[in-house]
Amino acid sequence: MTSRAACDIEALADDAWLLRFGDRIDPELNAAVHAMAARLRALDPPWLRDVVPAFASLAVFFDAAEDPARVHAALLALVEDGDASALPLRPRDGVIEIPVLYGGEHGPDLESSAAELGLSPRELVARHSAGDYTVAMIGFAPGFPYLSGLEPALALPRLATPRARVAAGSVAIGGAQTGIYPRESPGGWRLLGRTPWTLFDPRREPPTRLQPGDRVRFRAIDAEEFARRASRQDAAS
């Protein structure tokens, strides 16, 4: 993609600028965000501290001792240069396949969600695991991936009353997005299944298996494979 991504630059903090490409959830805007993030990381100017992609905006944190006006000028030059094709759009190539055990105790909302969508549980699993997803951003909690690319017909409102406890690895739908809870926490998304993967481990660097901009697919697995993978992961950590 070589389109010029127009964006506004506004102050997020005295040591951070926010590049806003739009104000809606849109795959093209999100691709522009990740392209700019990749360019900044590749350039790696000495003042750069953190690059935080979100759905349609990108935060650029810089060394607090740097003059914000100078960083602003450098970012403006980068935006106006606009040639995103010179550098890779995504941090990594390929599609990451995430194993998921759908339904049962691991996906307590699968049946009710399917019924609400007028599908059988089997159809919902087939359509959810057929999707091509992109890690639009990671946030809310450490390692929580917001995945865009959910088939619009599978969108589901959040639960009226969030659960006090959602198991780590729960794969869920919230509104028009799907995501995975990295650790046990409260949550209001519809739980379809669970992955045996540990999505966030602060003892590893990097602490997540997924990076913003990654492409992701789900693969349905059975209880036996879930147990095998979960125990292998315990042994590895």
């Binding site: 005295d14 944190f61 909690a141 997540t208």
Partner: protein
């Protein structure tokens, strides 16, 4: 022999903190770190540590701690009543202690203080920092606030053998101008300038993630917007119209409208806000924010030079 620090009573919320984590925000990892990194740096400097050694941050009421070997300590922030084996211990200066029990009481004139110990709190760094990430549950001591019975490892120290607490006659008082309004850079949001025209009160539900403000609610949008990055200092406007000022433990993205951000020079002052306290805001332009940030850095550097000039005299 490695020195250890025994927690006899934890205080209200005592955590291990250093200057915080950077480089992992894109994976949802908060910055964390001391709410006033300048105060933590000065405390470290007073005991002869690197500025980024880990310290204890305590909230409203300090802990009771037993040192099993001689240690040099310094307390900076809202001054608590401090006693060592019944004797009063002063703040804002290096104090040589023999083994024994240090009791930090209620804080006066603010919400937080920092205790540096020679050698630093030697917990394992996680993602490049020893800071406690309370929401993420990692860093510091098991990712949580201290509890009774905890034992913290201390780094290689340089304290002298003394029989009673010994402190020099000089002290450092890096107190903030508490009467000035909190200065902020307003966003383009319609309610951004109205923030400065109303008076606010710090809510008791405030924590290291953010200060919740109570007052005349501002006009707010009906629902959340598309999530965008946020930062410590971001002033959010939730649907109830009562602003939240994010602090060091802030999440990395959020969907609330933004009224702007507190300038870097005034972020340390937010650490001292006590529930029930009034708070006022004043908008400033970018040049003023930059000038004040440079002045604040220069002031901390000057304090550091002053400390270094006096330290050999301990």
């Amino acid at each position: 022999m490695t020195r250890q620090l025994h927690v006899l009573a934890p205080g209200l919320l005592t955590t291990v903190q250093d200057r915080g984590r950077s480089g992992w925000r894109h994976l949802g990892v908060a910055h964390a770190g001391a709410l006033d990194v300048d105060a933590a740096r000065i405390a470290n400097r007073l005991v002869g540590n690197d500025g980024d050694a880990a310290v204890l941050e305590f909230t409203l009421r300090g802990p009771r701690l037993r040192f099993d070997a001689p240690s040099r300590i310094a307390i900076v922030g809202a001054p608590p009543v401090v006693r060592f084996e019944g004797k009063t211990v002063p703040s804002g200066r290096p104090v040589e202690l023999p083994a024994g029990t240090l009791e930090l009481g209620a804080l006066r004139g603010g919400a937080r203080a920092w205790l540096a110990i020679d050698g630093g709190i030697d917990v394992e760094p996680v993602l490049g920092s020893r800071s406690t990430d309370l929401r993420g549950g990692f860093g510091g001591l098991d990712g949580r606030a201290l509890r009774e019975g905890d034992v913290l490892p201390l780094g290689m120290g340089s304290a002298r053998q003394v029989d009673t607490p010994q402190a020099p006659a000089w002290w450092i008082d890096p107190a903030h101008d508490t009467h000035l309004p909190i200065r902020y850079r307003p966003s383009a949001h319609a309610a951004a300038s109205a923030l400065a025209r109303r008076s606010w009160t710090i809510s008791a539900s405030s924590n290291r993630q953010g200060l919740r403000l109570q007052g005349d609610a501002l006009p707010a949008p009906g629902g959340d917007g598309v999530s965008e990055p946020v930062a410590p200092g971001t002033i959010q406007l939730p649907v109830d119209g009562c602003p939240i000022v994010l602090l060091a433990d802030a999440q990395t993205v959020g969907g609330y409208a933004k009224l702007g951000h507190v300038i870097a020079a005034d972020l340390p002052r937010l650490a001292q806000c006590v529930p029930g306290q009034p708070l006022h805001f004043a908008p400033v332009d970018a040049a003023t924010a930059h000038r004040l940030a440079c002045a604040a850095r220069a002031r901390i550097a000057r304090i550091g030079v002053m400390i270094d000039a006096r330290l050999p005299a301990i």
